[in-house]
Symmetry: C2
Subunit: 554 residues, 2 copies
């Protein structure tokens, strides 16, 4: 039996080794157009910035290892050109010796990954403009930095990789300007959560140009070189630069599949079933080249992430080699990025995703320490949860913080896997010792907030909501109000030294819809629950308090 | 409505604030025999060692805050003496003014916590012998350390708190001897996993006396002082010391409940239902004083941990104040401890717990990096999973490592909450970026190992199993074999430079039950799955390889 795999990265290598383990007799071959069977593409920004010191660290596997350990034949520098489904062969070309090769298969696995979306404005061959997609990109850009010592850089695209590049270039000592077409960084997150990362970027000296596109570039052009020196944005702002990195997203690399007339989804990704089989049962597709089922909506979507690609490779390799597969992954779109001292992460649905899929949702926000506040080094976590307001089912989460973000997003991703609700989240028995957490973990507090809402003790109201027609009570201190004012609010500080909160409350209008607000929602909850018990008709806690309201564009 | 709470720690304060939030009109009173309404008892060892610098950090709430914010009356230094169920009153005594007080209740919540098991050998009043249970214990022991500058300390009891004390005293510069009656530290863990922590203690200069009891103590006794100078163990070993801390476990403090004729479990804890109600529906019990349902066995057990106590308090407070409760926690016995650079954690069932409850189990072990190996700072995680060998249901986990232990134990605790199996664990979409994890997380690898076992690709065999009657193949390098020899094994290095593995395998006996072993199980898996495909009748991978086999007492 011949199992042929096109592409070592993005699931291909994982498919090959799994196929070997379930089928020791099969002939397994990988065709990889690049020079390395597989490399740590998620590590590229960190070698650029010197955090990963040695380039060879990025080469996670060698053809020799694949041959000796697994008996897998690897052809590097070999590009697959055409799939002949009728004859079950693949035509390929090897660059190193200009050889035209043909490989026959019983099962074929396409793992061609994705390609960068092109920015038309860079239609010339500039020596100082780079993307960061391949080892060659890395080598070229590093060589340029080492030989030209650029002082200023422009990074175009503020997605996960763009932010990593901006961080690493800043750590190299460059002044970085970050340009993004969308009005926020980190498109998968909701704007008010992304704003914490924008703040972190600004505080670390990165200039932000959000909601801006590059319309023009100017360069110093000679007969031998062409160095981009300035970009112009659509509002006519100009930014001088010595170096440009661009990366505005990726598209599935599905050309071979298109030409072989396999079914392609509207996203451009290859359509597969739960075993990663394409419309031809002998051909599988995995990773960025294929679509996957996005569990929160149960719709097909391209999810260009390493974890899902790796698991898809395992499933495809096992099924191709044995006709069955154990693993059925559920992709939640979980993603994480470190940006200087802050970390941002998401799993499941955002508000935008809920709206696009017409899914009914409500939001909660909390702020809590990552571990016991009395233990040194505690730092703040901000957790946004989206939930179904009728049954409390958790729909998604976004978390910002310095430490422990990854733990909480993974716990909530696990909750999503099981379709769990707020009571499940509140009931988890999580590990507590002072260096690691609190007896009441931030995810418990987040869950409690939802449980309170479901029981109207009190209800939550979105920080995006217009408060004009509400009776608004601000329980913060005067100092807090001076720093971050809130118009048209009644000031009843919860820790009023006079202690006469009851007296003050008696003067309020019980028949009016009332919103209570503090900094993060914690103190407001205390007063709001008191009002619920005093016969106020509709009482709301402003989810996330002024911390979030001040970040929402109304 | 009067809600009376006996005890602020261990769930009492949590019950009080929750009761207030769902019932703004109730009179809520806490009687606390200690001087502080509540304090961070999990933080005591860390203030002893100076890692938490300020004592006031441990005082997490004050009576004034409870009164002003929540309208809750707190009586400190006030000990409840007797519950009169017929008249619904509690008699109490206040130390500060010798006042005899009486409180009436509609709903009573008992949160009296636990008390230390006594060590009879300390039947004298030594000035340098301490437990670490209350703020007073902390103050007394710190004062002794500061005034007498002890050089040597004995810690008796190697549970979670005992290890924290041993670590902190070592960091203070003392030479610590740790004495434990059981043959291992960390009794809830299985011995071979606990052995990693024993190694860490030894490497940090702590002397271990495991499987030993103190039979005799000698002191310098004068008319004004009595300083313990030496302990003698049951094997006649003597250990000189300047300071002793002892803590050999706790017992539920259920005296009031016993005297009030409430139902008490065999463990001594107060029996409660899912709403924390005792056999008297108007009396609740929470925290260490009560039993809880240990989810993995569905049996009642005392679980003296802060997290479950906090959640039980919430449930009881809410139910007492409103007649209903949302939260039904599932206690998995999740616990964690940091010991120098290592962290140990457990959730769910251990081998001992499975045997005690006659639960059928199998074990897997893996070793993997906490995050991408190519990113700086990666460290090893050892994960032991217990699973049901018929359906792959996850029963429990134990994890040792330097970083990221808490994340993985919490993910698996969440899996336990839902009764998830190995396929669920393998399918999780966890957050990956190089600083946080790997595309294939350690918990995925742990799950894959189980999936392989279930499909006999290959099966796992316990590192405790006797290998005498097996054909044993060791795939490690010669260097590894020299360091950690394995008798009666056939040496076939997987990365054999001659490359003739197939030739070597053909000389083996296919009809014999065969065990393949390497260092951690990863390389053995490759060869073992090859043997499965070559028609060997019964092939096993030694779970956890020599890393674990060398730690198991056979």
């Amino acid at each position: 039996m011949n199992i042929l795999i096109i592409g070592g990265v993005a699931g291909g290598a994982s498919a090959a080794t799994r196929a070997r383990r379930v089928n020791p007799e099969a002939n397994i071959t990988i065709l990889e157009k690049g020079p390395a069977i597989s490399f740590a593409n998620c590590g590229l920004p960190y070698h650029l910035g010197g955090e990963i010191k040695k380039r060879e660290k990025l080469l996670v596997a060698t053809p020799e290892l694949f041959k000796n350990r697994f008996g897998i034949d690897v052809y590097t520098d070999t590009e697959a050109l055409k799939i002949d489904r009728a004859n079950k062969t693949v035509a390929a070309f090897r660059k190193t010796d200009n050889a035209s090769l043909s490989f026959s298969y019983d099962k074929l696995i396409i793992s061609t990954g994705s390609k960068l979306r092109v920015l038309p404005v860079f239609n010339e061959n500039f020596q100082n403009v780079f993307s960061l997609w391949s080892l060659k990109d890395l080598d070229n850009s590093l060589e340029y930095i080492n030989t030209h010592s650029p002082k200023k850089a422009v990074v175009i695209g503020a997605g996960f990789v763009g932010l990593e590049i901006a961080e690493q270039l800043t750590q190299l000592g460059l002044k970085v300007s970050l340009v993004e077409k969308a009005p926020q960084v980190l498109g998968p997150l909701d704007a008010e959560m992304a704003s914490f990362i924008e703040q972190e970027l600004l505080e670390n000296g990165v200039d932000l140009y959000l909601g801006k596109e590059v319309t023009k570039v100017d360069s110093n052009k000679t007969t031998t070189s062409n160095i981009l020196k300035q970009i112009t944005l659509d509002d006519n702002t100009t930014v001088d630069t010595d170096l440009v990195f661009w990366g505005i997203g990726v598209l599935p690399e599905s050309k071979l599949a298109v030409e072989a007339a396999l079914n392609i989804g509207t996203s451009g990704g290859i359509v597969v079933n739960e075993f990663q089989q394409t419309s031809d049962e002998n051909i599988y597709a995995v990773g960025d080249a294929s679509e996957c089922i996005y569990a929160p909506t149960n719709r097909k979507a391209p999810i260009p992430l390493a974890g899902p690609a790796n698991r898809a490779g395992r499933t495809a390799g096992e099924h191709a080699a044995s006709g069955k597969s154990q693993l059925k992954q559920k992709v939640q779109g979980t993603a994480i990025v470190r940006v200087f001292k802050k970390t941002a992460a998401i799993t499941g649905l955002s508000v935008r995703a809920c709206k696009n899929a017409s899914i009914h949702y409500e939001v909660s926000f909390i702020s809590a320490n990552n571990h016991a506040g009395y233990f040194p080094g505690a730092s703040e976590l901000i957790i946004k949860l989206l939930f179904n307001p009728s049954d409390g089912k958790i729909l998604g989460a976004q978390i910002i913080g310095e430490e422990g973000v990854d733990k909480r997003i993974d716990i909530i991703s696990t909750i999503l896997h099981f379709g769990g609700n707020a009571n499940d989240l509140a009931s988890l028995d999580l590990a507590y010792a002072p260096p690691f957490g609190s007896a009441k973990d931030p995810v418990h507090i987040a869950a409690y907030t939802i449980l309170n809402h479901l029981d109207a003790r009190p209800k939550l109201i979105s920080p995006y909501a217009n408060l004009d027609n509400f009776q608004v009570i601000d329980v913060r201190t005067s100092t807090e109000r001076d720093k971050l004012p809130l118009a048209n609010s009644i000031h009843i500080p919860i820790d009023d030294p006079s202690g006469d909160i009851r007296g003050r409350l008696d003067q309020l209008d019980k028949s009016k819809e009332t919103v209570v607000i503090c900094h993060s929602g914690k103190r407001a909850h205390i007063l709001a629950s008191m009002l619920c018990g005093m016969g106020f008709i509709d009482v709301f806690n402003n989810a996330g308090g002024m911390m979030m309201r001040s970040r929402c564009r109304h």
